[in-house]
Symmetry: C2
DNA sequence: CGGGCATAGGTGCATATACACCTATGCCAT
DNA sequence: ATGGCATAGGTGTATATGCACCTATGCCCG
C-alpha cells in the first residue's frame, strides 16, 4: 500500500484542503473586509489585550517576522496600533483600536456562518485531533 | 458548545497544522534542495508528462497564475522547461528535464521518510477523509 | 562602569497564493 | 475574409510565510 508508486502526499493533500478552506472563510468574511488570517489576529488581540509582537506571534504559532508583516494591512487600515513599550522601548505593543473592535464585531457573524457550514460537514473535533497530532509530531 | 465566546476557528487551526506539516516536509526535503510544493509539481509532471500550464494547475488544484509562478524556481534551476506548444502556440508545455528527473529521484527517499514519520502518527486515511470533506464542502 | 551576552524587533530575499486585468491566438459563423 | 467570442497565458498588486542577517537596547558580571 505505501509501496504504491503514486502514494498520495499527506502534506500536499493537507495544503490543498487548507487552500480550499481558507478560500471558503475568506469569501465568507469578504463583506466585513477581512481575511481569515486578519480575523484571527484580531481575535487574539481581543482575548489578550495589548501585547508585544513576539508574544502575539507565539500565541498564533506564527514566525515572529511573519506576524510583524501580517500586522501591516491592519495598521494601514487603522484596526490596530503598534507603539513602543513604556517599560522596555524595544518592545512594540500591538493593540486593537475602536475601529478594530468594530471590524471584529462586524465580521464575527460571517465567521460564525462559515464555522457552522463547515462544522456541519466535518466534525471539528476530528480536525482538532488531526491538527494536534500534526503539531506535536513536528 | 458552539456558544463559547472563544470557540476555536476551524480554519485557523487547520492553517496552523498545515504550516507545521509543511515545515516538517520542507526540512526533510532540504538535503535534496526542494520544497514540498516543488516536489509535488515534479511528481505531477512525472506522472503526466509534458502538459500545458493550465492543465497542470488543474491537476494540482492550484490557481492558474499561481502554478505559473511556482514554476519559476524550477525553471531557473533547469528542472523543468516551458516551451510553446507546436499545435497551439498559445499553450506553454511544461516538461521535466533530466535534471528534474534526477532531483525527483534524489528527493523521493527523503519524502518517504517524512511520509513514514507522519503516517505513523496520524492515520493518512483520516487526513484524506478530512481533506475530501473540506474540498467537497467548498 | 564597561564589555559581552541576551532579547525585541526590522529588513532583504525567496517562495506561495490568488484576483483583476491585459495580450495573443484559435476558431467559428456569416 | 473578418468580426467576435473563447481560450491560453502573463503581469501588477496584495497578502502570507519563513530564513538569514542587522540594529537597538536591556541586563548582568567582573
Amino acid at each position: 500500500m505505501s509501496e504504491s508508486p503514486n502514494e498520495p502526499c499527506t502534506c500536499s493533500a493537507l495544503r490543498r484542503a487548507t487552500r480550499a478552506l481558507t478560500a471558503c472563510y475568506d469569501a465568507a468574511l469578504k463583506p466585513a473586509g477581512l481575511r481569515v488570517t486578519q480575523f484571527a489576529i484580531l481575535r487574539h488581540l481581543d482575548r489578550l489585550g495589548p501585547i508585544p509582537v513576539s508574544r502575539l506571534a507565539a500565541e498564533a504559532a506564527l514566525e515572529r517576522t511573519t506576524m510583524g508583516r501580517n500586522l501591516d494591512p491592519l495598521k494601514r487600515r487603522g484596526l490596530v496600533t503598534v507603539t513602543p513599550g513604556a517599560l522596555d522601548p524595544r518592545e512594540r505593543l500591538v493593540a486593537m483600536t475602536e475601529a478594530g473592535r468594530g471590524a471584529l464585531a462586524a465580521a464575527t457573524p460571517y465567521w460564525r456562518d462559515a464555522q457552522a457550514r463547515i462544522n456541519a460537514r466535518i466534525d471539528p473535533a476530528t480536525v482538532s485531533a488531526v491538527a494536534e497530532a500534526l503539531i506535536s509530531a513536528t
